[in-house]
Symmetry: C2
Subunit: 341 residues, 2 copies
Amino acid sequence: MMKAVLDARQSVHDPKHALLSGKVIQCREQPERIDVLHKAAVAAGCEFSPPRDHGRAPLAAIHSPEYLAFLETIHQRWSRLKDASNEVIPNIHPANRSCSYPTGPVGQAGYHQADTACPIAAGTWDAAYWSAQTALSAADLVMDGADAAYALCRPPGHHAFGDLAGGFCYLNNAAIAAQHFLMAGFRPAIMDIDVHHGNGTQGIFYDRDDILTVSIHGDPANFYPFFWGHAAERGTGRGLGYNLNIPLPFGTDDAAFLIALETALHRIKTNGSNVLVVSVGLDPHEDDPFEAFKVTTPGFARIGAAITALGLPALHVQEGGYLQPALGDNLTSFLRGVQRK
Amino acid sequence: MMKAVLDARQSVHDPKHALLSGKVIQCREQPERIDVLHKAAVAAGCEFSPPRDHGRAPLAAIHSPEYLAFLETIHQRWSRLKDASNEVIPNIHPANRSCSYPTGPVGQAGYHQADTACPIAAGTWDAAYWSAQTALSAADLVMDGADAAYALCRPPGHHAFGDLAGGFCYLNNAAIAAQHFLMAGFRPAIMDIDVHHGNGTQGIFYDRDDILTVSIHGDPANFYPFFWGHAAERGTGRGLGYNLNIPLPFGTDDAAFLIALETALHRIKTNGSNVLVVSVGLDPHEDDPFEAFKVTTPGFARIGAAITALGLPALHVQEGGYLQPALGDNLTSFLRGVQRK
């Protein structure tokens, strides 16, 4: 039996539109994912409970007050624009974050949304809030002695920076949980196995040496998030050397992924970390709609087992992995691997 | 009689789509503008000739080689993407320009296009190239002794930075012409009267004191380009004090605009500039679809006359002003004012 956390309010975020390659498409991060992942986690022996509300302080420890105010209020303010869409999708972006902070909704949307794949509708703030509380509450379970816990976070979080939404993500659940561990006296590391680089997580901790960030992902040369995720990005200032990126080519299979994972976990071991936050993406799978890697369903069990073999208590935070027939089986396989003794 | 320049190849850029307030709309910067503006300039006594090809050197004096390569090749490369739109429209943006330079088309689109209102199709590069040549050739007419010349540049240019397209603009025609004057020994100033802030022009010369940039425009607090155009933006380093922004409220009329113009022209006078590049936007008009200012058709004659009264030779470069019944009359009025003795 493995403890897990989920809150029903995470379903109210139901994004409809995204702009991809210049065309409007249906957003892939659908609320139906929750049902599939919930059943799959139960099948792997998870016992779910609802989160406790930790309030805003743990969110504000990671995200800027401007950004949190934006997320909570922008949909209402955007809706007052003439001919506005139902969802907030930015149409202009600053060339750098040091130019002026805009006061109006269109400017703020561009300032705080890195891309056109993080639409904000009426339910987005509530869902993101409870997704973060889910991660925090699952972290509590680990602090209370569980070897591992699963946070069914949705919307996901690892593309969200301190002041920037992006790629289906609004609040960085893994970062919020890692900071929660840090403030409780732990020395956390974040291991991101989503097929997309955890750019938000990297960005949040880029100049810090107290939370190690490691990510295995598709080479950003031609894959989302494009601007981040290269091996040369190693952190800055005190944080230099505390960010490890392992970009892998399209078509990466189980064997190649597991070799990279070995490198990643060894780095975490040498860091002296005593708790692990895993950003669990199921989109490295061979049938995921993003079509980057060729990890198999049994491969996820081996990945989960390798992480557990590191011997650290671990919080598993759900990130990506999209609707396709094997989505649930992939999570079941992963969580069974995590629990393998 | 006033000399003017136009090239037929500027019409091949025919943008279809833009994303505004989250919805796909028709791009307002239509090739039909050329016919309207051409007739209007002729009505004001302009005599048109085609541009001379100055090659790429004057473009590369303003724009980065990466950006020029992007503009010229991106449509072809984008078209090879699976399910790509006919026009290049970015879907992800870097949070700052110092992160890695992407190699693929989607990343490069986000890096080099500041917004979703600068779609790039097959004819965009050619049209932008000849629009810049038009500005350069009209600058030559002024260097050769004309009191004033009109460059019917389209696509417009003042939102284009050194490495960034935006707001219907690709190559910054006014900046390219000003640099052309500088390299011929002049001391140029740029006066931007478009209703939108000339953010690209400002950005290009922001750390320089050799080309003064002045802009009168709608307050960016709630108007495009949102991130730039505030009065506090005064230049940086050597350029501090060499950028003047005069943001004005929605509803600004002839009288208020002319008072701001007096301040702007006085700053140019104290600068010792000996040639003027005017970014001529006709969108301050009361019936322009952007609905910001309430300048009248006769008001444009007064604006043109005030600029001429400064006593400097002037290159008038077309920027914005969109299809509406008075568009042509506004240009005719402005150019008649320019020629008033």
